[in-house]
C-alpha cells in the first residue's frame, strides 16, 4: 500500500471527517457543499475572513479556521479551486454584517471562482472583496506570480485585523500591505507524489529544483555541489533582491515543508538560512517552521520573508486559536 489515500475521490471527505473529530472545540465541518467553519462566536459587524484553496496544501487553508484567523475555509478537489457554490455557502454561514474578505492565491481558477462569488454576493447586498496573494519571486512578471507562503501570513493578518475591529476597507488595506511586504521561493528536493499517479522520477542527488510551485509545477533544475551555503544563496538571494529587503529590516521568517521533507531536514536547512539573514543584518523577529503549506507529499520547502512594521507585528502577535496556529 503506497498510501491510505489510494482512493482520491473520497480522500478529502474522509480527511475532513477526521479533522472534525480531531478539533471538535475549534471547527465545524459542513459537507456538500464542503466548508469548514469556526466555532468561536464572532461579534456582530465583524469582517468575515474566508479562504478557499484546492486540497493538497494542508494545513492551508482549513487548519487556519478559528478565532483570530479564518471564519471559514473551503477545500476544493486536489489542486483545484473550490466552486462558487462552496464559497457562497461559506459566505452565507459566516457573514456577520461587516462584509467578507477573501484571501486568494493567484491562480486562475481561484480568482475566477472568487470573483464570481463576490459578484453574486454583491447582488445579494453583501459587501465582499478579495486580496490576491502573489509572493512567488521565481516568476519575473509580477501579475503572474503565484501565491505561496504569504497565503498563510495573509490569513493571519486579515483574521487578526477582522477580530480586532478593522472595517472591511481597513482589513483589505493592511492585508494587501502584508502581502506586498512578503516574498517567497519554492524549492524542490524530490518530486511530487499524487495519489493516482504514484511516485515519478526523482531529482539527481546533486540537484535541487528552484522555483517550484505547490501543484507540482516544475522549477529550474540546478546542480549544486558546493554544499549548503550555495543552496541557500540560490534560494534566499532572489527573495532579498526582489522586495528588496535591506539591512536592519525586521522580518518574519516562514520555512514550510512541502509535505515530504522531515522536520530534521527543515531545521538543518534553517541553520544556513539564519546565517545568511544574519550576514545581511536582517532581524528575524518572528518565525514559523514546519508544514504550513504543502504540496501533498512532495519533498522541498517554501521560504518566505515578510518585512514587519509595528502594525503587522501587532496583528501577527494577536491571539489566535485554530487547529494549527494558537497563541
Amino acid at each position: 500500500m503506497q498510501s491510505l489515500m489510494n482512493k482520491p475521490g473520497s480522500a478529502i471527505t474522509q480527511s475532513l471527517r477526521g479533522m472534525a473529530l480531531c478539533h471538535p472545540d475549534t471547527i465545524k465541518v459542513h459537507f456538500d457543499p464542503d466548508y469548514v467553519e469556526r466555532l468561536a462566536p464572532a461579534r456582530s459587524g465583524k469582517v468575515a475572513v474566508i479562504s478557499g484553496s484546492g486540497s493538497g496544501h494542508e494545513p492551508l487553508p482549513i487548519g487556519y479556521v478559528g478565532l483570530g484567523m479564518l471564519d471559514a475555509a473551503c477545500p476544493g478537489p486536489i489542486f483545484t479551486s473550490p466552486s462558487p457554490v462552496q464559497l457562497l455557502a461559506a459566505v452565507h454561514s459566516v457573514d456577520h454584517g461587516g462584509g467578507v474578505l477573501f484571501v486568494v492565491k493567484n491562480y486562475s481558477g481561484g480568482v475566477l471562482n472568487t470573483e464570481l462569488t463576490i459578484e453574486i454576493a454583491s447582488q445579494e447586498g453583501i459587501d465582499a472583496r478579495y486580496v490576491l496573494v502573489n509572493d512567488d519571486v521565481s516568476i519575473p512578471k509580477v501579475a503572474n506570480r503565484r501565491g505561496l507562503g504569504a497565503a498563510t501570513l495573509a490569513c493571519k493578518i486579515a483574521g487578526a485585523a477582522a477580530e480586532s475591529g478593522y472595517s472591511l476597507d481597513a482589513a483589505v488595506r493592511v492585508t494587501r500591505r502584508a502581502i506586498a511586504a512578503s516574498r517567497s521561493m519554492g524549492v524542490g528536493t524530490n518530486v511530487n507524489t499524487l495519489p493516482r499517479n504514484g511516485p515519478a522520477d526523482n531529482l539527481a542527488d546533486d540537484s535541487i529544483e528552484l522555483g517550484v510551485g505547490i501543484h507540482g509545477e516544475p522549477g529550474e533544475v540546478r546542480s549544486v555541489t558546493k554544499g549548503m551555503p550555495e543552496i541557500v544563496d540560490l534560494i534566499v538571494q532572489p527573495i532579498l533582491d526582489d522586495l528588496p529587503f535591506a539591512s536592519g529590516d525586521r522580518v518574519l521568517l516562514l520555512i514550510s515543508g512541502m509535505g515530504g521533507t522531515p522536520p530534521l531536514e527543515l531545521y538543518l536547512f534553517s541553520e544556513a538560512i539564519h546565517e545568511i539573514l544574519a550576514e545581511r543584518r536582517l532581524r528575524v523577529e518572528r518565525q514559523l517552521i514546519g508544514n504550513y503549506l504543502t504540496c501533498l507529499g512532495r519533498g522541498g520547502y517554501t521560504i518566505s520573508l515578510m518585512r514587519l512594521d509595528d502594525e503587522l507585528l501587532r496583528l501577527w502577535d494577536a491571539p489566535v486559536h485554530t487547529p494549527v496556529l494558537h497563541w
Binding site: S83, P84, V85, S108, G109, L112, N113, E115, L116, E119, I120, Q123
Partner: protein, 217 residues
C-alpha cells in the same frame, strides 16, 4: 416572429440548448480530449440535466432578469469546472441587461448577449483569438449589433449571429490557444476545434431556431 421575446420563449431556447448539448456530449468530450482534460462533455451534460429539471419546473419566474439569474445559478452549481463559472457569469450579466419585465425586444435581446459577453471577457480575461468561447460569442454579438443597426428583421439578426458564431467556432481550429488548459499545448493546439467555442456555438444555433420558428408565444 413576435415583436417581443417572452420569458417562456427564452425558456424554450434554453431547453433546446440543453438538448443540443446532451446530443453532442460525445463530440464535446472528443474535442476536449484532444486539447483539454476531457471533462467538458461530461460537465456540460451534467449541467444541462440540471437545467432541464429547473426549466421544466413550472415554478419559474415570468420576469426575464429573475429567470436568467436562476439559469446562471443552475449552471454555476450544475456544470462545475471552469465552464460552470463562465457560463454562469454570462447569464448572470445577461440578467442585468434592460428588459420589458416579462419580455425583451430585439434590441434588448442583442444587449442581453452583449452584457453576457462583456461579463465573460471581464471574468475569463480572454480576448478574441485566444481560442476560447469568446471566439464564438464575440463575432456573434457583433454580427447581431451590425444587423440591428442596419434595421434588419429578427430572422436576419439571428441568422447573422448564428453564421458569425459558426465561422468563429471553425476559426478556433486554425489558431493557437492562449487561454485555458489548451494553452499549455502551445502550437500543438493548432488543428483542433475548441470545445468551449463549440458548446457556445449551440447557444446561437438554437436561438436562431427557436426565436424565429415559434412565432407569437
Amino acid at each position: 416572429m413576435a415583436q417581443e421575446i417572452t420569458t417562456n420563449q427564452l425558456r424554450k431556447w434554453l431547453l433546446a440548448y440543453a438538448a443540443r448539448i446532451i446530443e453532442n456530449e460525445d463530440h464535446l468530450t472528443e474535442l476536449d480530449t484532444a486539447i483539454g482534460d476531457a471533462d467538458h462533455g461530461v460537465n456540460m451534460r451534467r449541467g444541462m440535466g440540471k437545467l432541464q429539471e429547473r426549466l421544466r419546473d413550472e415554478g419559474h419566474s415570468e420576469d426575464v432578469s429573475a429567470f436568467l439569474r436562476s439559469v446562471a445559478m443552475t449552471l454555476i452549481s450544475g456544470v462545475g469546472g471552469a465552464a460552470g463559472p463562465l457560463y454562469g457569469t454570462f447569464f448572470l450579466r445577461a440578467a442585468t441587461s434592460p428588459t420589458n419585465g416579462s419580455s425583451v425586444d430585439l434590441e434588448q435581446l442583442t444587449q442581453m448577449f452583449r452584457y453576457g459577453l462583456d461579463g465573460l471577457q471581464q471574468r475569463g480575461k480572454a480576448q478574441a483569438d485566444d481560442k476560447t468561447m469568446i471566439d464564438t460569442i464575440q463575432p456573434a454579438v457583433e454580427a447581431m449589433e451590425a444587423a440591428l443597426a442596419a434595421h434588419q428583421s429578427a430572422a436576419v439578426v439571428l441568422a447573422a449571429a448564428r453564421q458569425a458564431a459558426l465561422l468563429g467556432m471553425k476559426r478556433t481550429i486554425e489558431i493557437e490557444a492562449r487561454k485555458g488548459r489548451a494553452s499549455y499545448l502551445g502550437p500543438h493546439s493548432i488543428g483542433h476545434q475548441d470545445p468551449g467555442a463549440t458548446s457556445a456555438y449551440f447557444l446561437f444555433e438554437t436561438a436562431a431556431e427557436v426565436f424565429t420558428s415559434t412565432g407569437a408565444d
